[in-house]
């Protein structure tokens, strides 16, 4: 089936070329980082994780969100999602690929990465994260590819795929729960030491992931013959609206606990993020933008008239997606390190090389996504051709 990605319009090849160029820039910048060390990034002794790990965290969410399509379709027989379930699975594949790459580019000694397998350590959450992520990648590749292959031949998917589909549902929840446990179990980081972390992660994932999926569907409708169908898009948009509401609600719970209990260590990171601390205001603009975008997005998506307006819909979804990205792909990770365990403040801003490497990884993910979507759509086109004679 992969050969279907090798023929396409001029526009398709131009897009692939742009991605390849970005990958090349990212890769050459990574070689520089490989030789000089992570000193070329903005990370420091105090803020020892930055853009890479934050992107990893955010993308685990996007990957997990495939269940928001799979659950209605496979468990509740919501047929309208039949067309897009494959897009959800392939989005998960591309996201997990990016997650793995973001971990990899963050390592100080990347050539030793297999030490994680050579010295398996069950008391490390990182060990379990590796297991659930690679398992999830495998599950989605197998499920997506076999279903599509069967569809192409006009058969239902083979019966052995069914159990995998059911396993993939709790597995998706597990990838984001385990990722939350990376943070939520650390004694000295009050911003992360919260039982609701995994729930927050899932809520934000189930908002950002489907929001991206709908945006992709709307794009595909313009660029190809693929039409997800109005009804499934509206259903997904509702999921986004309520997941994002839950996400905002969970965040407000954090705010209440921190500020009503008035425990300094719990207040400080939130204060830093939204108001700045001792004149350090690096993320204040971002966080308020996220807050405004979140409320605007939720408002536009809950209100039926704006949600049904497909001119407004992409903006509402983009607002939610960007808000979730700032919250998780920037604020949560960096905020956890500020102030440091001694109560001192070191700010963080990514450097240009760090941003290029990040764009490079995103480009790899987009390339994987492009190829997989191209195959999926080509198979569908072939089918409809055959059906209509």
């Amino acid at each position: 089936m992969l050969e279907k990605a090798l023929s396409g319009s001029r526009r398709y090849w131009a897009w692939v070329a742009v991605l390849l160029a970005l990958i090349a820039v990212g890769f050459s910048t990574y070689l520089k980082q490989y030789h000089e060390g992570l000193g070329i990034t903005g990370m420091s002794r105090d803020v020892s994780w930055g853009l890479y790990i934050a992107q990893f965290t955010f993308l685990v969410g996007v990957a997990a969100s495939a269940v928001m399509v799979a659950i209605p379709y496979y468990l509740h027989n919501y047929k309208k999602f039949g067309k897009i379930v494959i897009l959800g699975e392939f989005l998960a594949v591309a996201s997990v690929v990016m997650c793995v790459l973001f971990i990899f580019v963050d390592l100080g000694q990347p050539v030793r990465v297999l030490n994680v397998l050579l010295h398996p350590t069950p008391h490390s959450v990182m060990f379990w994260d590796m297991i659930v992520l690679s398992g999830y990648l495998l599950l989605n590749i197998i499920i997506g590819w076999t279903s599509l292959g069967a569809e192409r031949k006009g058969f239902p998917p083979p019966s052995w795929v069914k159990p995998l589909i059911y396993i993939a549902i709790p597995w998706a929840v597990s990838i984001h729960t385990v990722t939350a446990f990376l943070y939520a179990g650390l004694p000295g980081r009050s911003h992360w030491l919260t039982a609701i972390m995994a729930a927050r992660f899932l809520a934000s994932a189930f908002a950002a992931g489907p929001a991206l999926l709908v945006i992709l569907c709307l794009l595909l409708r313009r660029l190809s013959t693929f039409d997800a169908g109005r009804e499934s898009i509206q259903a997904l948009a509702k999921i986004v609206a309520y997941a994002m509401s839950a996400n905002v609600f969970f965040f407000l719970l954090e705010v209440f606990t921190a500020f009503y209990s008035h425990i300094p260590e719990h207040m400080a990171p939130i204060r830093y993020l939204f108001f700045g601390l001792d004149g350090h205001r690096g993320l204040v603009g971002f966080m308020w933008s996220a807050a405004i975008l979140a409320f605007v997005g939720i408002g536009l998506l809950i209100n039926p008239s704006t949600r049904k307006n497909e001119r407004v819909l992409p903006f509402a979804l983009a607002a939610v997606f960007i808000a979730a990205w700032i919250d998780k792909g920037l604020g949560l990770i960096v905020g956890g390190f500020i102030p440091n365990p001694m109560g001192r403040i070191t700010e963080y801003a990514p450097t240009l090389p760090e941003i290029w490497i990040t764009l490079g990884v995103y480009s790899i993910g987009l390339l994987v996504l492009t190829v997989l979507y191209k195959v999926a759509i080509a198979v569908r086109e072939e089918e409809s051709l055959a059906a209509h004679g």
């Binding site: 060390g37 990034t41 020892s48 971990i103 350590t121 001192r344």
Partner: protein
């Protein structure tokens, strides 16, 4: 003759299993030289639980503390990058408010408020860094020392996120050009690994006290916390002591004597 898919898979799997088995057996057979063994050095200082008491009364000036830091950093080839972003330190200083956050108040006696306290790895009994390390590159030895295996560290920095005391540093760059004078008896580190205080395990093995203790003029007391007759136990039994962030349950092995002015034996 055509190989069916089933047959191909069977053959392939058998071959793989064979290679795997052979490799495993090979590992068993060639583990080590026959009839050799490894022992601990007779000269080595031994303990069940190494601990340190820092008598802040005896640290009269910032120079006293700096001398200890210099001794440590010189001994262990700790580089000086000249900027706080890449900074590596095994021992640092903090004021009371920052070393013991949550225990300060606005009316502290000036002497304590301004004093610089040495801060270092606490060699916790329940180290969060060890719990999170995915490769056991950081691990707790039977004598309580939380050690680093720089050969194994993949540089994921999970331990830095887990440490509640800011005791860990990462080699953001190649440290070698930034070591003023290399101590040939101790290795340097390489870029991309995390490092921290090792309670001078390499000196204890030779029967020597930690470098900072040696340079402290008696302000640092080092010994076995499990031995009721050790000096650390004597001092702790007769003086009021505190530890950093005890509420987190990591059980630091570094104790601080604050105020009182009473000299220990």
């Amino acid at each position: 003759m055509s190989v069916t898919r089933r047959r191909f898979l069977k053959l392939g799997l058998t071959t793989l299993a064979g290679i795997g088995g052979a490799m495993a057996l090979d590992g068993f057979w060639r583990g080590s030289a026959e009839a050799s063994e490894v022992l601990t050095d007779q000269k080595a200082l031994k303990a069940k639980h190494w601990a340190m008491v820092i008598d802040s009364d005896r640290l009269k000036s910032a120079e006293n503390v700096q001398r200890m830091i210099d001794a440590c950093h010189r001994t262990h080839n700790v580089p000086d990058f000249g900027n706080s972003k890449d900074e590596i330190k095994w021992m640092g200083t903090e004021t009371y408010e920052h070393a013991f956050p949550g225990q300060e108040n606005g009316y502290l006696n000036e002497g304590i408020k301004e004093k610089l306290f040495p801060v270092l790895c606490n060699h916790c009994e329940n180290p969060a860094c060890v719990r999170v390390c995915p490769t056991q590159a950081t691990f707790k030895r039977p004598d309580g020392i939380v050690a680093m295996d720089y050969h194994r560290c993949i540089g994921c920095r999970f331990c830095m996120a887990a440490c509640a005391f800011g005791a860990r540093s990462f080699n953001f760059r190649d440290p070698r050009p930034f070591i003023k004078q290399v101590n040939p008896d101790f290795p340097t580190r390489t870029k991309g690994v995390v490092e921290k205080c090792n309670f001078c395990v390499e000196r204890l093995e030779k029967g020597l006290p930690p470098a900072c203790v040696e340079a402290s003029n008696g302000a640092l007391i080092f010994g076995d916390l499990d031995d009721p007759n050790s000096e650390v136990r004597q001092v702790l039994a007769t003086h009021y002591s505190i530890r950093r962030k005890p509420e987190l349950g990591t059980e630091p092995s570094v104790y601080y004597l604050i105020g009182g002015g009473e000299e220990h034996a």
